[in-house]
C-alpha cells in the first residue's frame, strides 16, 4: 500500500467572522488507517470536516488529498470521488427505496426513462460487495439508524472514495449495533478503506482506531498511536488539564424509607414483560440493556409517554394515571428523554422557556405565565447547571450539544422531582459536560431524589448503587455497585461469564 497520506492538512486556518475555528491546525491520515479525531465541543472538528469534504475552503494553509492539492469547491464530482462523509444527520430520503437512495440522480436510464430493474440490480450488487444486508426495495425510512449508516457508507464508497469520515457514527446506536458497525469498519479497512473517526467516546477510540489526533480550542494538540497513549493522558490532552479521578461516591440511598418508585409486574407487549423493582429515595438505579431490550420503553412508561398493558407504577404514595405525561409530572417525575432533538427541546424557543416548559403552572396565577418568575427560575437553573449562555432569552438551538443537554436536565430538575428518569442522558455530549451532568445527578440523589438511569453507556451506570439488566424485555440480572465493565456488558448481551 502506498504511503502517500490520504489527507495532509498543514497549518490550516479558518475564521468565521471574529471566531477562529481552526488555528494553524495539522492532520495527517495515512492510507489503511483508522484515525480518530477527538476534542471537546468547539475544538474545531466540525470545521475540519467541512474543509475535508470540500464544503468550505481554508483561509490559509495547505490541504493535500492523496498527495495532490484539494480540488475547487465547485468540483463536487471530484470531491465525491476522494472523500466520503457519513454525517450525524442522515442524508437518506425516507420515502424513496434503498436502491433509489443509493443511485439518486444517477439512475441508469434508457431513452430518458429510468430502468428500475437495472437500478435495483446495481444497488443489490453494491450492497453485496460491501456486505450490507438490506433489501434494496424497502423504503429507506424503514431502516434503523445502523442499517441507514451502512447504506450511506456503501453509497459513499460507490463514488470511488476510499477515505470515509464518520462523524459521531455511534451517537444513536446501541451496543450491539456499535459492535456490528465496528466489525464492518474493520472489514472495510482490510479492503483498503481509510477512516477518520470522530467520536466523544474514548472507549471506542481505543477499540477500533490506530492513531488518534486531539484538537483543543481550534488547535492541534497531539497525534499519537492509540496503543501508546494511556487513557488519562488522552483525556488530559482534550481537557488541557489532568483528568480528575472520579471521586468515590457514597450511596445516598435511604433504604429504610418507603420507596420513591414501586414498579409491579409491568408488561407492555412486545417491548417488555413482568418488570418489577423499587427505587428508594436518594438511590440511583441503573437500567441497562442493549437496544431492543425494553429499557427505554420501561423508562418511557414511567414518565407517561407509553401506557403499559398491565402492572402498576407507584411514585411516592401516588399512582399516576398510566400513559399520561402531565399526571406523571404532577406525581413528581422529572424526565430526560432519549433524543433531545426530537423529544427534549423546542429549538426556536428560548433557554428560559425550554427550562421551565414543564413547570409553567408554578410560574403565575391560573393560565398566566409571569415572565419575571420564569426568568428567575430559569436563571437559577442555568447557574445551577452552568449552562453556557449569554442570557436566558437566547434560542436554545444556538447552544452547543453539551449545553443543550444541560437545558434538558435543568428542566427535569426544575420541578424538584421525587423521581428522576434519565434515558441515555449523556449521549452526544463531550467528556467534561458528561462528568458534570452525572455529578448533578448524584447531587440530586443526595438531596433525596430517586434516580433511574436507562442507558447502555457504562460511564452513566458507574455512579449507580445497583444496576438492573434487561435482556429481551425481562429483568435478568441485578449487579450491585463495584462491578467490572465486562460483568455489565456480558449481562446486557445475555452471556454468562462463568459458563
Amino acid at each position: 500500500m502506498s504511503t502517500v497520506p490520504v489527507v495532509e492538512a498543514r497549518q490550516v486556518v479558518k475564521r468565521y467572522g471574529a471566531t477562529v475555528a481552526l488555528d494553524h491546525a495539522d492532520l495527517t491520515v495515512l492510507p489503511g488507517q483508522t484515525h480518530a479525531l477527538v476534542g471537546r465541543n468547539g475544538a474545531g472538528k466540525s470545521t475540519l470536516v467541512s474543509l475535508l469534504t470540500g464544503l468550505s475552503e481554508p483561509d490559509s494553509g495547505s490541504l493535500l488529498l492523496n498527495g495532490e492539492p484539494a480540488p475547487g469547491l465547485s468540483d463536487r464530482d471530484k470531491w465525491r470521488s476522494l472523500v466520503a462523509c457519513v454525517y450525524q444527520r442522515s442524508t437518506i430520503i425516507p420515502d424513496l427505496s434503498v436502491a433509489e437512495n443509493l443511485f439518486l440522480n444517477r439512475q441508469e436510464t434508457r431513452g430518458g426513462f429510468v430502468r428500475w430493474p437495472a437500478v435495483r440490480r446495481a444497488a443489490a450488487q453494491l450492497l453485496e460487495r460491501w456486505s450490507v444486508e438490506v433489501d434494496v426495495r424497502r423504503p429507506a425510512g424503514e431502516l434503523g439508524v445502523e442499517q441507514r449508516q451502512f447504506v450511506e457508507i456503501a453509497r459513499a464508497l460507490s463514488f470511488g472514495a476510499r477515505f470515509v469520515i464518520l462523524d459521531e457514527p455511534t451517537a444513536q446506536l446501541d451496543g450491539g449495533a456499535i459492535t456490528r458497525l465496528f466489525g464492518h469498519i474493520a472489514e472495510l479497512q482490510r479492503h483498503g478503506v481509510t477512516f477518520l473517526f470522530i467520536s466523544h467516546h474514548l472507549q471506542e477510540v481505543y477499540e477500533i482506531c490506530d492513531t488518534v489526533t486531539v484538537y483543543r480550542d481550534a488547535r492541534h494538540v497531539l497525534t499519537a498511536p492509540v496503543a501508546a497513549l494511556p487513557k488519562a493522558d488522552l483525556v488530559a490532552a482534550m481537557t488541557g488539564e489532568n483528568a480528575v479521578v472520579a471521586a468515590e461516591r457514597f450511596s445516598s440511598a435511604r433504604l429504610g424509607a418507603p420507596p420513591a418508585l414501586r414498579v409491579r409486574e409491568l408488561s407492555l407487549a412486545p417491548s417488555y414483560c413482568d418488570v418489577s423493582f423499587d427505587v428508594a429515595p436518594g438511590e440511583i438505579v441503573g437500567l441497562a440493556g442493549a437496544g431492543g431490550s425494553g429499557k427505554t420503553e420501561v423508562a418511557e412508561t414511567l414518565t407517561g409517554l407509553r401506557e403499559a398493558d398491565s402492572g402498576t407504577i407507584t411514585v411516592g404514595d401516588r399512582r399516576p394515571r398510566p400513559g399520561d405525561v402531565p399526571a406523571a409530572l404532577a406525581a413528581g417525575v422529572g424526565f430526560v428523554p432519549e433524543d433531545r432533538h426530537r423529544q427534549g427541546l423546542v429549538p426556536e424557543m428560548s433557554v428560559a422557556d425550554n427550562t421551565t416548559l414543564s413547570v409553567m403552572d408554578r410560574l403565575g396565577p391560573g393560565i398566566f405565565v409571569r415572565a419575571r418568575l420564569r426568568d428567575r427560575l430559569a436563571g437559577t437553573m442555568i447557574s445551577r447547571l452552568e449552562v453556557k449562555t449569554p442570557g436566558p432569552e437566547l434560542a436554545v438551538s444556538a447552544l452547543s450539544g453539551g449545553n443543550q443537554q444541560k437545558v434538558v436536565m435543568a428542566r427535569a430538575l426544575a420541578g424538584d422531582p421525587r423521581l428522576l428518569v434519565l434515558i441515555t442522558p449523556t449521549a452526544g455530549v463531550d467528556v467534561r459536560s458528561k462528568e458534570f451532568l452525572l455529578g448533578k445527578v448524584s447531587e440530586a440523589a443526595a438531596g433525596g431524589t430517586a434516580v433511574l438511569i436507562a442507558s447502555d453507556e457504562l460511564d452513566d451506570l458507574r455512579l449507580c448503587d445497583r444496576v438492573l439488566v434487561m435482556v429481551h424485555g425481562r429483568l435478568t440480572t441485578l449487579i450491585p455497585a463495584g462491578w467490572q465493565d465486562r460483568e455489565v456488558v456480558a449481562a446486557m448481551e445475555g452471556v454468562d461469564l462463568d459458563a
Binding site: 437518506i92 439518486l104 440522480n105 451496543g175 459492535t179 448481551e493
Partner: protein, 340 residues
Amino acid sequence: MPESPTALRAEAQAAPAAGPPRRIAFARVRDFALVPGIVAIAVVGQLVNPVFLQYDNVINILQTMSEIALLVLAQTLVLVVGKMDLSLESTFGLAPGVAAWLTIGGGHSLGLLPAWAAVPVVLAVGVLVGALNALLIVRFGLSGFVVTLGMLIVLRGLLTGISGGQTFFGMPASMLYLGITLWAGVPASIWICVLLFAAGAVLLGHTRFGRSLYAIGGNEDAAKAAGIRTDRIVWIVLIGASVLAALGGLLLSGRLASVAAAQGNGYIFTVFAAAVIGGVSLNGGRGTLFGAFTGILLLYMIQNVLTLAGVPAQWIGALNGTIILVALVMSRITSGKRQN
C-alpha cells in the same frame, strides 16, 4: 484487549440476525387505496339511478372534472417537490381572462391582438405567474404559502379589474376548440386530461427529473448532496404547474364559451382535498399522480351521484365538505398512515 467490551460483544453476537422479511411495496398499495371506494360509489350510483354508469353520464363526469383535474395534477407536482401553490385557482381564471381581454373587440375588452394569439397568451400568462412565484419563493426565499396566497388574491383582483367584474363572451374560435371538440367521439378535454396525467405519471415515476422531485420534497439537503440542482427544479415545477393551471382554465372557458370573473374561485380547496385523499403528502416527497387522479375522480363521482339522487343544489356545498372529510377518514383507514 481480550476483556474489551467489543470483544465480548463480538463473541456474544454469534448468529447474525436474519435478514428482514421480504415486503410488498406498500407504496403501491397506498396508491390503490381509493379504488375500492370508487367501485363502491359506482355500485351505489347505479342503484340510486340506472343512468349513472351509462356512457353519456360517465363522459359527463369525466368532462366536468377534466379542468379541475389539471389543477390537481399541477398541485400534486408542487406538493411532491415540497412546496404549495395556492395561486393556481386564480391563474386558472386569469390566463383565459387576459387572452379574452386582449383579443375580443368591444365592450371593456381591448381587442389589441389578433385571434390566433389567444392560446399563446393563455400559456404565456401561466409561464409569467409561475416565474413570478418561483422568483419570490426560490430566489428571494419567501414563504411559499404566503407568497402564493398573496398571488391568489392579486391575480383574482386583476381578473376582476380587467373584466370589470363581468363575464367575457365572444371569444375567438381557437379558445373554444379544446373545450368543445370531440376526438374519436370523446371530448378533447378528457383526452388532454388523461394523457397529461399519464405523461405526468411516467415523468414522476420513471425519469431522473421526476425522481428528483421526490428527493427534494423528501430531504432537500440530501438531494443537493446527490448533485440535484434543487433550485432549478423547483423553478421548473412552479412554472409547469402554472402553465397546467392556465391550460385547465382554457379548457373550462372553451367548454362554457365564456370567462367569468370568478372562474376557478374556491377551486383550490377541492384541489387540496383531492390530492390529500389521493395520498399526496402536504409535507412533500410523497404521493403519485394515479392516487391524485383517483382522489378527484372519487369526489366528482360522489357529486354526480348526489345530483342524480335529486339532492337540492342548496345542500350540495355542505355535502361536498362532508364528502371531503369522509373521504379523508376513509383513506386514513385504508392506507393506515397518518396524514399531514
